[in-house]
């Protein structure tokens, strides 16, 4: 009985080095086909620009940031990263089904905080990440990983800034995780 429960709780993941090799080969394939790497935050940016452009078109077209991504012949949602991000969702679902991790809605959190605190932290963290990704010209996937992998100096700056600073903050936010 006890061992059954343990078995149930044990998550089956790929060996991280094997997963890393697969991801590296995927980046290589993506660059070989499209000439650039993978990304994620760009799709949310497209969604934001689209919303603004639909609700308040004049406002969006007068915004120096929004208007960079608006064109007359197609919606900002008609964008490579939007389709790719939809794929990320499908691929995550596929893997989740295969490894038995697709379950009813639940919250992942450290042992010493409530669900409510976790969700508040998640929304604040998301806001900060989204805001910062626009200054960084991309997030962990587009700038830090694909950027550095293509030897871009800017990619390495973002990589070091994200991980370096997060290690410095970790002590202050330990209650959230351990």
């Amino acid at each position: 009985m006890h061992s059954n429960k343990l078995e149930e709780n044990k998550q089956r993941y790929l060996n991280p080095y094997f997963g890393g090799v697969l991801l590296g080969l995927l980046i290589l394939l993506t660059i070989f086909i499209t000439g650039r790497g993978l990304g994620a935050s760009g799709s949310i940016k497209s969604a934001v620009v689209t919303t603004t452009n639909v609700i308040a078109p004049t406002h969006a077209q007068n915004n120096d940031y929004d208007k960079k991504f608006i064109s007359d012949d197609h919606s900002p949602m008609y964008n490579w990263l939007v389709f790719e991000s939809f794929g990320i969702l499908l691929g995550g679902l596929l893997s989740g089904i295969l490894f038995g991790r697709v379950k009813k809605f639940r919250i992942d959190k450290g042992p010493n905080i409530t669900n409510k605190s976790r969700l508040i932290a998640a929304v604040i963290g998301g806001m900060l990440f989204g805001f910062g990704s626009q200054f960084g010209r991309g997030c962990t996937s587009g700038a830090a990983l694909s950027g550095t992998a293509t030897f871009a100096f800017g990619g390495l700056i973002v990589l070091l800034a994200i991980f370096g600073s997060a290690f410095l903050y970790a002590w202050f936010f330990r209650k959230l995780w351990i």
Binding site: Q11, L14, A47, A121, G126, L128, A143, A149
Partner: protein
């Protein structure tokens, strides 16, 4: 020959089909490696789980070395691939803000999408946060439009900046990655002895 789309080997109509297929592979690898769990991701900052670092650095050196081989065999014209531009100050500030978002929110954008896919509400809420954060950025853009383009260096590579050749840079990254894998393996062993509240 490559990159195929910029060189016209694949026409624009296939662009979005390819985007979805590559995205599926990306999402699959992230989820299967355990990136759909914020606790796995945050582990790297507390020493109880270094999966992020292992996957990330392995992927980076495989892609780097692979690009050099593709170039050497003449399969890929490296002058035609996208090099991320460098804006020194906004990139440092953006990275430092993203780092805070990472430790507070427990995800980064791509990983939060895979978390949603398997039913994690914290992943969903994080993604809503991303949307709000980017909306705040776009609406307040006039306040920092000058800062946004400060430290503009164009699109330099690490070779341009350091004067070291690409193979040696790839070698250095590989060497550092291997050293880090070994050190973090030792750290993880020690920390896991004292961590009980987490299922590995």
């Amino acid at each position: 020959m490559g990159p195929l789309i910029p060189n016209g080997f694949i026409t624009g109509d296939w662009d979005f089909v390819i985007a979805i297929l590559l995205g599926i592979a990306f999402g699959f690898i992230l989820e299967a490696s355990g990136f759909s769990s914020s606790r796995n991701l945050a582990g790297v900052f507390y020493g109880y789980n270094f999966v992020v670092l292992r996957v990330f650095f392995t992927a980076m050196i495989v892609a780097m070395v692979g690009l050099l081989y593709f170039d050497y065999f003449g399969w890929l014209d490296l002058s035609k691939i996208f090099i991320l531009p460098t804006f020194v100050w906004p990139m440092i500030v953006g990275g430092v803000i993203m780092g805070l978002g990472f430790i507070v929110g427990g995800f980064c954008p791509g990983t939060s999408f895979t978390a949603i896919a398997i039913g994690k509400l914290d992943g969903l809420v994080f993604t809503i946060g991303l949307y709000i954060g980017i909306f705040i950025f776009t609406e307040s853009f006039p306040l920092f439009s000058d800062f946004y383009t400060s430290g503009d260096m164009g699109n330099p590579t690490l070779m341009d900046v350091t004067g070291i050749s690409a193979p040696w840079i790839a070698f250095a990254f590989t060497f550092i990655a291997l050293a880090v894998f070994w050190i973090t393996m030792l750290i993880e062993k020690r920390v896991r002895k004292t961590t009980t509240a987490y299922k590995f």
